[in-house]
């Protein structure tokens, strides 16, 4: 097909704040007016920001449960295979050669591998989902947000003057505008 990909430009307004409480209030107000806040950059985690931005709660807890279950299963298999099946071990006068009757001795292994798998796989999952890997180019648009400033990026759809006025009233110390090219099919 010969349909050319349409290019649109999207206006992004970024506002900088010097206080997390002021920013949090601004986020609530700006969202309340129907604007879409696409990202926030802060030097430290701001309590309640995810909720104020309308982000979905993470499912990493559920993932951790299944990672733990995987670790537990592996520990049961490991203790069974090495201690009972492949080379039965008689330790401490407990030669029952069944996994069940030796189970209390395997609990530490089961516990450790459950924790190990849950913790490690959770961290790796977090890195992968967030695209954090060595050598990744930083996407942070303003290095001041790693020090003492807070920045939010809002998509303006033709009503940028209202938005800028609103942000000024909400206590933004600096407001910038940039145009971004996007493939047309998106909003």
């Amino acid at each position: 097909m010969s349909t050319a990909i349409q290019t649109h430009t999207k206006t992004i307004i970024s506002a900088i704040f010097d206080d997390d409480d002021v920013m949090l209030k601004a986020v609530k107000r700006v969202r309340g007016k129907g604007f879409y806040i696409r990202e926030a950059y802060t030097p430290f985690p701001v309590h309640g920001l995810d909720h104020a931005m309308g982000l979905k709660p993470t499912n990493i807890g559920t993932a951790a449960f299944f990672y733990g279950l995987l670790g537990l299963s592996l520990a049961i298999w490991l203790t069974y295979y090495t201690m009972i099946h492949d080379w039965p071990m008689n330790i401490g006068g407990k030669p029952s050669f069944t996994w069940g009757k030796n189970m209390p001795a395997f609990v530490p292994v089961m516990f450790e591998l459950t924790v190990f798998f849950a913790a490690h796989l959770m961290v790796w999952t977090f890195f992968i989902i967030n695209g954090l890997y060595p050598g990744r180019k930083p996407i942070n648009p303003d290095p001041r947000t790693t020090d003492d400033k807070f920045m939010i990026e809002i998509e303006a759809n033709g009503n940028e003057n209202d938005l800028i006025e609103l942000l000024k009233n909400e206590g933004a110390i600096e407001i910038n505008k940039k145009e971004e090219e996007t493939n047309g099919n998106h909003h």
Binding site: H47, G48, G61, T62, F65, G92, G93, K94, P104, A105, V107
Partner: protein
């Protein structure tokens, strides 16, 4: 706003208390628990052979002791939790401190009964819950002589035992008395002096409790199986105490919420209480298993005697307790969502309470009544009586002081608690 105990709950409390008193009288004066005369090898593994078997007639006393200790644990655990809040200067809990204080105020009743049990055992010899109190046990010329127990008389002797019991009970009560007194002063105080005083008293209590929680567990419970000892027994009993108290606290808070009190408490506070229930269920299991596994693994006769009766004649309550105290609460309140919903907390809470009652049962019964155990009028009836007394006393405590400590320095923080 002050709490008022609803007439309905008050009537339930009175009925339960009457049931409890009747059960107590029945089990002490009328019930025939049978004079067990047969040879019971497991029992003899616990007790030294060669003296009279008291296990049957210990039963009403042992049943009273199980319930007394269980409710003492609730009151004492609450006092401990309250002291932690003051000492750590915790903000989130300021709105429920009065509830902790009211539950801790139940302390005098189980403490008084515990004192009666101790006097009846070591002075009047009405029962033989503590095997080391048997006549002539440290006398080499007596048929009851037991060399191992004789070696422990420097610690386990009647005067010292009485002194220790008195110090624990009066000491705990004094700390409670001053914490309560200062918090009432705080109701009409223009400054935070009362709170600073409570902070110091709490720090002192925590030191006192760190020692006495262990030693009281050795004295009252571990010395039942006099030959046996475990170095972490005190912490294990403490874990039972704490998780039971936090669970009761949570259930009382939920009840008050359901009755439209405590409007400053929301699902965030419930979430934190749920975390305590969850975490200390795991903590209890960790200590229980640390004790069990080492004994099971090393398999030394003087140590495994403790678990032999518990894994044979007590197998059902023993395994039920493990499921109720560990498996069930872990699975029910693991997720964040479950901890914020009253229904899940209640399900897990009931499981924890039944489980830890059985845990106390398993600590006390095998060494006192052996195979003559049961869940009859003595055990269940006295439990119900304590529930009735708990409702009436804690209801009265809650009604006597405002539910909100309005001059608490961390009240605003507690109201805005958000997790």
């Amino acid at each position: 706003m002050n709490f008022t105990l609803s007439p309905r709950l008050k009537n339930i409390g009175i009925v339960l208390l009457v049931v409890g008193i009747i059960s107590l009288m029945y089990s002490f004066f009328m019930a025939d628990y049978g004079h067990h005369a047969g040879h019971d090898s497991t029992h003899e593994a616990v007790h030294a052979a060669g003296h009279e078997d008291h296990s049957a007639h210990n039963r009403p006393w042992a049943a009273l002791m199980v319930n007394t200790f269980f409710f003492l644990a609730i009151a004492l655990g609450s006092l401990f939790f309250l002291a932690i809040q003051y000492a750590a200067q915790a903000g989130w809990s300021a709105g429920i401190k009065r509830v902790m204080e009211s539950i801790a105020g139940f302390l005098p009743i189980p403490a008084a009964v515990m004192f009666i049990i101790v006097i009846a055992g070591v002075v009047l010899h009405k029962h033989h819950i503590w095997h080391w109190t048997a006549e002539g046990i440290s006398d080499p010329n007596h048929p009851n002589y037991d060399a191992i127990i004789a070696g422990k008389t420097a610690y386990l002797n009647t005067p010292f035992f009485l002194i220790r019991t008195t110090v624990y009970l009066i000491g705990w009560y004094m700390f409670f008395y001053f914490l309560k007194k200062n918090s009432i002063i705080g109701e009409s105080s223009g400054n935070w002096e009362w709170w600073k005083k409570n902070w110091r008293i709490s720090a002192g209590f925590l030191v006192f409790f760190a020692i006495t929680s262990s030693t009281s567990a050795w004295d009252w419970i571990m010395s039942i199986d006099t030959h046996w000892f475990s170095t972490l027994f005190g912490w294990y009993v403490f874990a039972t105490m704490f998780v039971t108290a936090v669970t009761v606290l949570t259930l009382v808070v939920l009840y008050l919420k359901a009755e439209n009190y405590l409007e400053w408490v929301n699902e965030n506070h419930l979430h934190d209480l749920g975390k305590f229930m969850f975490a200390f269920s795991i903590f209890w299991t960790y200590l229980w298993f640390s004790q069990y596994m080492l004994i099971w693994y090393s398999n030394i006769p003087e140590e495994v005697t403790y678990f032999m009766p518990r894994y044979t004649i007590y197998k059902l309550p023993f395994l039920t307790m493990l499921a109720l105290n560990f498996v069930f609460p872990i699975l029910v309140i693991m997720s964040r969502t479950a901890k914020r919903i009253g229904g899940f907390i209640v399900i897990a809470g009931v499981s924890i309470l039944v489980g830890h009652w059985l845990d106390v049962f398993n600590m006390i019964m095998p060494g006192t009544v052996g195979e003559n155990y049961g869940f009859g009028i003595a055990e269940i009836g006295i439990f119900l009586g304590y529930v009735g007394a708990f409702i009436l006393v804690v209801g009265r405590n809650l009604a006597k002081a405002p539910l909100l400590m309005k001059n608490h320095p961390m009240l605003i923080e507690s109201k805005h608690h958000h997790i």
